[in-house]
Amino acid sequence: MRVTVRPIVPCITVILIMLALAACTVRLLPAYDQATYQSLTSLNANTLTLFSSLSAGSSAKEFPRYEDQYNELIGGFSAARMTLANRPTPPIGQRLFGTDPLSAICGKNASVEDCLNATPRILDQIVALLTKMRDIHQQRGLPAEVVSGLNGRGGLKGQYQIEVAQVLTVEAALQR
């Protein structure tokens, strides 16, 4: 018996140490959501495809051809927003939010959710941007400059890229 028990003891000790270390790590921010992150990367690829299709501009007559794409993207980003807004911020993170340095970065009017779960608010901006783009396209058509800006900068695409980069950077960082 002794021969079989001895090697087990150090193994159990190592497992206990690992469990003790793993169980007691601190979490200050909401959890990473892999399914939603993958959905966001897919939505981003589809949005960039739409921007590419419309880069030369598009008339109101052509709108029906793109209507379903707009609605899928707006619906997809809205669903991701709803999922990520429901992630709880750990209580320790909420306490940290009350400290001066964090308040200074986030601003006095920011809520704990704005500051420590920034993504839903940015997704609101993306939904507003795509909705505006869809409505302009439907009502009067999209000039190329409004879609892609001038000299490769600006326009709806430039604004979208700022917003989606914020979302993907923060969400990828939460994978820890």
Binding site: T25, V26, L116, A118, R121
Partner: protein, 123 residues
């Protein structure tokens, strides 16, 4: 078995340098990229308002200005979130090194584990 203070100190410094360095590197790179994008967007809005599609379109001009303003605020929130993440990772790394060393020494002396602290001290 005693705790090797010199080794633990070195391990702690390495853990802090590594985690804080990685965190700062990520925040710095992110802010640099975002600043360029925001500056480019601001430049286009200005150019277009003077002599482009936004020249006679007040509604769209205001929409782009509001979006840009919101993005600046969102950048601040994203930076705050990344900074807190760096604090979290640094804390966990330091506690892991220190409590790991203490518990290894206690185990060597045939004693029980010291429970790890569960939260940073409140400010």
């Amino acid at each position: 078995m005693t705790l090797n203070i010199e080794k633990v100190t070195g391990d702690l410094i390495s853990a802090v340098q590594s985690k804080a360095g990685q965190g700062w590197g990520q925040i710095s790179g992110f802010v640099t990229t975002q600043s360029k994008m925001l500056a480019n967007q601001g430049a286009w809005i200005t150019e277009s308002r003077i002599n482009g599609a936004l020249k006679t379109d007040d509604e769209l001009f205001n929409f782009f200005v509001d979006q840009l303003k919101d993005s600046v605020e969102s950048l601040a929130h994203a930076v705050a979130e990344l900074a807190v993440l760096t604090i979290e990772e640094t804390w966990n790394a330091v506690v892991g090194v220190l409590w790991g060393a203490i518990n290894t020494a206690l185990k060597g002396a045939g004693l029980g584990f010291l429970p790890m602290p569960s939260a940073p001290p409140q400010a």
